[in-house]
């Protein structure tokens, strides 16, 4: 599993990756491993704004439904349609193909204060 350089992780197992002022949000490899077979993903509509910590998506494994929280506040500008059709992509490729949404965020700097880099996140598990 290739973990992208520079991701930040929340204690609720979302990751945040910044690229050219756009923030990609997904679930860490640890999270999808723990969830097991993912069979359903519900994503927000493009244009919706969420504050840090708000529920913006739901991911369901065979066993249970899990709410997914915004690691930083922002506006949804892109959603990953592919995982709605094929939720198993989240298990197979949480970083490359299985990301959830991309957001614009003007508060990312102050909101990401409590996020951990990948090594520290793994250590906290």
């Amino acid at each position: 599993m290739m973990v992208p350089e520079g991701i930040l992780c929340s204690k609720t197992h979302e990751y945040l990756l910044e690229e050219n002022d756009l923030y990609t949000i997904g679930l860490t490899d640890y999270a999808v491993e723990q969830l097991g077979d993912i069979v359903f993903v519900e994503l927000p509509e493009i244009g919706t704004e969420f504050a840090k910590g708000e529920v913006f998506a739901t991911v369901e494994s065979v066993k249970a439904a899990s709410e997914i929280y915004m690691p930083v506040g922002g506006k949804i500008v892109e959603i990953n349609e592919k995982i709605v059709e094929s939720p198993e992509v989240l298990n197979e490729s949480p970083y490359e193909n299985g990301w959830l949404v991309k957001v614009e965020s003007s508060t990312a700097q102050e909101d990401s204060g409590d996020l951990l880099d990948y090594d520290d996140y793994k250590e906290e598990l």
Binding site: G36, D37, V39, F40, E42, T58, E60, S61, V62, K63, A64, A65
Partner: protein
């Protein structure tokens, strides 16, 4: 502290993910729930179900006690035969569901849910007041395996018990496997053909590994509680605590088919159960499939024409069907094909009532007694 079965270390070696269930640390999955589920439908799967309870009921009044405890007519059981039963309280609500096996005259094996071991045992004893009967809870001495799937009979044959010698559906027999004394029953909780194997704790680790080794050529895999739940849901087999509880009678639970109308002996809850069989009930257990994209879960609300009308008792993704299905109670009698709705995260999604089981059972129909 949660209890562990004698196979706990074997589960860890096989890479199982462990969860707590009914006070036990049990494997929920090994390779993945969907993979394990499909393997049971297509080949065979081995389950550690040692958390379940075993009572041995024997003596002159053993039959009389069992007749008082369950609606089924235990008098009709012959040696080596089994029957699926419910354990009603005086009001007909269910304390547990269980399987009673007649081993021989005046000697019965009762397999109960893990969550029911203590309360069922107390209930059995309470009901046995003045009876000449011995009730032994041997749950801590015995381990239980389930080997389920179309290849199960071939694996048991390979282990030395030929298909001709194997017990028929809902039968049990004494046998030897790898030199160990076992009780081999043709029962299970998956809707597939298969066996349950009861043996003393000291034999179980060797037997478990032997079945995985000799069964490898038939594609056997270890299966966790996750797939056990999806398999039983597709077969519409009720789960005590979800679909059955003390507030619900067996008639309301869609189990009328299992209840004889002609049993003379009195049993707990009989008046209520017979009255309901005759006059019908207000709530009904139904099976449904989602027609909108959403997954129904335990305790989500059911609606008819936008009005709250019941509750989901079991629900989830059905790997064999690649659909989302559920069992639940509604307060109206509606035929298959009727549209209902499920409330999922504050939104209503459409579903339709369907006939159960959701997946055709491969195991044969059991005799009604």
């Amino acid at each position: 502290m949660a209890k562990r079965t004698k196979l706990y270390d074997e589960h860890l070696k096989l890479g199982a993910k462990i969860v707590e269930f009914a006070g036990w640390e049990m494997p929920v999955q090994y390779s993945g729930i969907i993979d394990e589920h499909n393997n049971v439908r297509n080949n065979a799967g081995l389950f550690d179900v040692s958390h379940m309870g075993e009572f041995f009921v024997s003596g002159k009044d053993a039959l009389k006690l069992l007749q008082k405890l369950v609606p089924q007519n235990i008098e009709k059981l012959t040696d080596g035969k089994a029957v699926y039963c419910q354990l009603p309280n005086e009001n007909g609500g269910l304390i547990d569901d269980l399987i009673i096996y007649r081993l021989k005259n005046e000697e019965y094996l009762v397999i109960v849910n893990a969550s029911g071991i203590e309360k069922d045992y107390e209930w059995f004893k309470q009901n046995a007041d003045g009876f000449d009967v011995k009730i032994e809870d041997k749950s801590d001495e015995y381990s239980l395996l389930a080997l389920q799937g179309p290849k199960a009979k071939k694996i048991i044959a390979k282990l030395g018990i030929s298909e001709d010698e194997q017990p028929k559906f809902f039968h049990i027999k004494y046998a030897k496997l790898n030199g160990a004394d076992i009780l081999l029953a043709r029962t299970g909780y998956t809707g597939e053909d298969g066996f349950e194997i009861l043996t003393k704790n000291e034999n179980i680790v060797e037997l478990w590994n032997l079945i995985l080794e000799k069964g490898a050529e038939f594609g056997v895999k270890p299966i966790g509680l996750g797939a056990r739940d999806t398999l039983r849901l597709e077969a519409a087999l009720p789960l005590y605590g979800n679909d059955l509880n003390e507030e619900t009678t067996p008639v309301e639970s869609g189990l009328s088919w299992f209840i004889p109308k002609d049993k003379d002996a009195d049993y707990n809850g009989k008046a209520k159960i017979i009255e309901q069989l005759k006059n019908g009930v207000k709530k009904h257990l139904i099976g449904f499939k989602m027609t909108d994209r959403a997954i129904p879960r335990h305790e989500y609300e059911l609606y008819i024409h936008g009005e709250k009308a019941g509750i989901v008792t079991s629900g989830g993704f059905a790997p064999t069907l690649n659909e989302n299905i559920g069992l639940g109670y509604i307060e109206e009698e509606l035929p298959p094909g009727s549209e209902i709705q499920v409330m999922v995260r504050n939104k209503l999604y459409n579903a339709k009532i369907v006939k159960t089981p959701f997946v055709e059972k491969k195991s044969k129909k059991m005799d009604n007694i």
